[in-house]
């Protein structure tokens, strides 16, 4: 029996023994489905916390992290087996969130020993919830156009400015920010990557409503916020390097989080067709809509096969420019899927709330609207295509 097979056995035994019965069969085990943790988290089912604790004990909340930071020191292949086995039992990951998907890996790569020891175990235990402070109202796709000022005052920085699209800022304990520490330097220079405790006086999150209704997004205002210099990740004025590395983690998560449930998009469309369209002899009667569903179903499958292929190729190392391809394809596919779903729904696709629409239709309307943001957030499709053109295809800079 190979080492991996042995590990699979071990995981199965562990799960069989420790996974709370009440959680089995409840979740797809994705990186954003489950317990987000943090101090502001509302009370949860004790089984959720028990599950978190038994996993944390084994380092299984962040299995690839070193043991000294709360992980299990496992290889990516081993970790993949762990998630596979949890998924097979329909278990949620014990703790989820941006701590694992973004700031954790970034701290491991760029953080000081002190910062790693301080933050990683708390992330791994879900004690502290993190949010992202990158975008600013004037910046948009031009992320490096950071205007939020950080002025040095002894062993502190004083932060003033505003971040936007800070998802879940109202529920988070800490925020990682790009701030401008040097305004005379060229744009990508003079940026610093810094960690801010949201309880510091002067930090104020405010929720943003989207066209799809309420959302996890916030604006976060910073007014004379004092942050210790030791909270800088990487070097002062060199934060753009750190920030870019984190972006690649973000993109990879957006791409793969869409592809996690093979065929689920097609199934959703077929279900919708079952509720809204005429069928005969086991087929959707409307041949045009039927072929359109097939068209998107095929793209979905080809995308998932691409995810697998990328995963095999990149068993180690950071996500590279592949993440741009995955992000473009996944988000544009998702939009087309919701558009087609709306066409299938006809008048029933127009529900906002109240009578005459069922819960599925109401949710679908909101998700359709929400999907329009997918090609904007996390690096717009335009930015991703620029990256593909230059970094993958080697086309020359736009003059």
């Amino acid at each position: 029996m190979s080492d991996l097979e042995a590990f699979r056995e071990e995981v199965r035994a562990f799960l069989e023994e420790h996974a709370p019965k009440s959680l089995r069969g409840t979740s797809p085990c994705g990186p954003f489905d489950g317990y987000w943790g943090g101090k502001k988290h509302p009370p949860v089912d004790p089984d959720v916390l028990r599950w978190r604790d038994v996993c944390y004990e084994r380092g299984f909340t962040a299995p690839t992290w070193p043991r000294e930071y709360g992980g299990a020191g496992l290889s990516r292949k081993h970790a993949a087996i762990l998630w596979e086995e949890m998924r097979a039992m329909g278990l949620p990951r014990p703790v989820v969130g941006f701590g694992f998907a973004m700031i954790g890996p970034t701290l491991l790569e760029y953080g000081s020993e002190e910062l790693k020891r301080e933050h990683l175990p708390k992330i791994a235990r879900g004690e502290i919830r993190w949010c992202q402070g990158y975008s600013e109202p004037g910046a948009g796709s031009d992320l490096a156009n950071v205007q939020m000022r950080a002025e040095r005052d002894g062993d502190h920085f004083i932060l003033n400015g505003q971040k936007i699209w800070t998802s879940h800022a109202d529920k988070s304990d800490w925020i990682f920010c790009l701030v401008r520490t040097n305004s005379s330097a060229k744009k990508q220079q003079g940026i610093t990557f810094i960690l801010v405790d949201m309880e510091t006086p002067g930090v104020t999150p405010r929720k943003i409503d989207l066209i799809s209704g309420s959302s996890p997004f916030c604006e976060t205002f910073f007014e004379n916020v004092r942050v210790p210099v030791r909270n800088v990740v990487g070097e002062i004025d060199k934060g753009w390097t750190v920030g870019k590395a984190l972006l690649a983690h973000e993109r990879a998560n957006i791409g793969s989080s869409i592809g996690r449930m093979p065929g689920s998009g097609q199934r959703e469309l077929v279900d919708r067709a079952r509720r809204h369209l005429a069928w005969s002899e086991g087929k959707i009667e409307d041949a045009v809509l039927r072929e359109q569903i097939a068209e998107l179903g095929m793209i979905e499958e080809a995308f998932q096969l691409t995810l697998d292929r990328v995963a095999q190729k990149a068993q180690s190392g950071n996500p590279g420019s592949e993440s741009s391809i995955l992000k473009v394809v996944a988000t544009e596919l998702k939009q087309r899927r919701y558009e087609l779903g709306q066409a299938i729904g006809g008048l029933q696709s127009l529900g906002w709330e109240g009578p005459g629409f069922d819960a599925d239709d109401l949710a679908f309307t909101r998700e359709w609207l929400r999907s329009r943001a997918n090609t904007i957030e996390g690096g717009s499709s335009e930015i991703q295509r620029n990256i593909i053109a230059k970094q993958v295809l080697g086309l020359p800079e736009v003059k």
């Binding site: 948009g140 943003i208 989207l210 066209i211 906002w352 109240g354 629409f357 609207l369 329009r372 335009e382």
Partner: protein
């Protein structure tokens, strides 16, 4: 002239931002009574009603231009409802009494008559309603449920498509008649549509529109499709103009984003589509008045083109606005919501393509 007046009116008093007020669940009508009165005074509701009935005797071409102006700011006042959904069936099938009673007050904007057309699961099978008109002691009894009826909340009467013993029929039913109940629906585009239920409502022979009900309904649907297309044209052009304005003014990477060629080419493509849409809508509206044999075909053309173009423009408008376009604080999102609602009203693209194919003999 009137179109210019309409444009000034909406730009002055009816900017799209007011939807945030009108969409509140406690808003009684979903549009502005005052503004509608003003529109009526300016002749918008009288425009296409014959002079004999207190109207101005103009055609769909003139009405379309008004609707285009209103569409620019997504004004929800029931001009299309009264001038097309109410007036057209009455003009074509109303008895003298019905005409005398309703048309002058429709023209004056004092009465709202709307079409109770769609049913759950009906899609575009409008000629086979499940709503039933059955013989009763006093004449007929009407039973059924209509959904997303335009301006149901303020309607004084409904023209109800129903299946009678002799086939499709159009029954004119008073909104206050016993057995009629109305429930407001909340739609993505914030238009105040409603569910209207008919529970054995008494209908007299004289309440039924006369003539070929199928022909009357088809003509009403064709005219409604073109009228709505005109509204969509105005909306799409406005959303596009706002987006081009944003492209010029929004600076990223040190330059206006409108200087990026990839966005320029997409904007140019949208502009071309808008030109075709304008041509289609104008030709269809003109044909309604001048070339009835070409009208059904052109109506299909106008609506299918409006569906595709408005949605395309609205999606690109959000993408080009970036993050702020997704926020409820910005107005551009209203156009996407309206685009989807308009696209599935009076026939989606597929419906009109099939109809076009049929009318062209293939």
């Amino acid at each position: 002239m009137l179109a210019e007046t309409a444009r000034k009116l909406v730009e002055g008093k009816a900017k799209v931002a007011r939807i945030r007020e009108l969409r509140r669940p406690d808003h009684p009508t979903g549009f502005s009574r005052e503004l509608f009165a003003e529109m009526a005074e300016l002749g918008f509701t009288a425009l296409s009603i014959p002079e004999d009935f207190g109207g101005m005797g103009l055609g769909l071409f003139d009405l379309a231009q008004i609707l285009e102006s209103l569409g620019r700011e997504l004004a929800p006042e029931p001009v299309l409802t009264t001038a097309v959904l109410g007036a057209v069936p009455l003009l074509r099938g109303g008895s003298d009494d019905q005409k005398q009673w309703f048309l002058p007050s429709l023209a004056a904007g004092e009465t709202v008559v709307t079409l109770a057309l769609d049913e759950a699961g009906m899609r575009d099978r409008w000629f086979s309603p499940k709503t039933r008109l059955e013989r009763s002691a006093e004449g007929f009894a009407l039973s059924g449920e209509k959904i997303q009826v335009a301006d149901a909340l303020v309607a004084d009467a409904f023209i109800v498509t129903c299946e009678s013993p002799s086939g499709l029929a159009l029954a004119l039913v008073d909104a206050k008649a016993p057995g009629v109940s109305i429930e407001r629906q909340f739609r993505v585009d914030s238009r105040a549509v409603g569910i209207v239920r008919f529970d054995g409502v008494a209908v007299r022979e004289s309440d039924l529109l006369q003539g070929d009900a199928r022909a009357i309904l088809q003509e009403t649907l064709d005219r409604a499709a073109v009228a709505l297309s005109a509204e969509m044209l105005g909306a799409a052009e406005k959303a596009f103009a706002d987006t081009v304005g944003y492209l010029k003014e929004r600076v990223q990477f040190g330059v206006p984003i409108g200087s990026f060629q990839a966005l320029q080419h997409r904007a140019a493509t949208l502009y071309c589509e808008l030109q075709l849409l304008r041509s289609a809508v104008m030709a269809a509206a003109r044909a309604a008045d001048e070339a009835p044999e070409a009208f059904p075909r052109l109506a299909a053309l106008a609506k299918a083109t409006a569906n595709e173009t408005f949605l395309h423009v609205a999606k690109e408008a959000i993408q080009m606005h970036g993050g702020v376009g997704m926020t409820d604080e910005f107005d551009i999102g209203f156009y996407l919501k309206r685009a989807q609602a308009a696209a599935v009203t009076f026939g989606d693209t597929s419906h009109h393509r099939r109809r076009w194919a049929e009318l062209n003999g293939y």
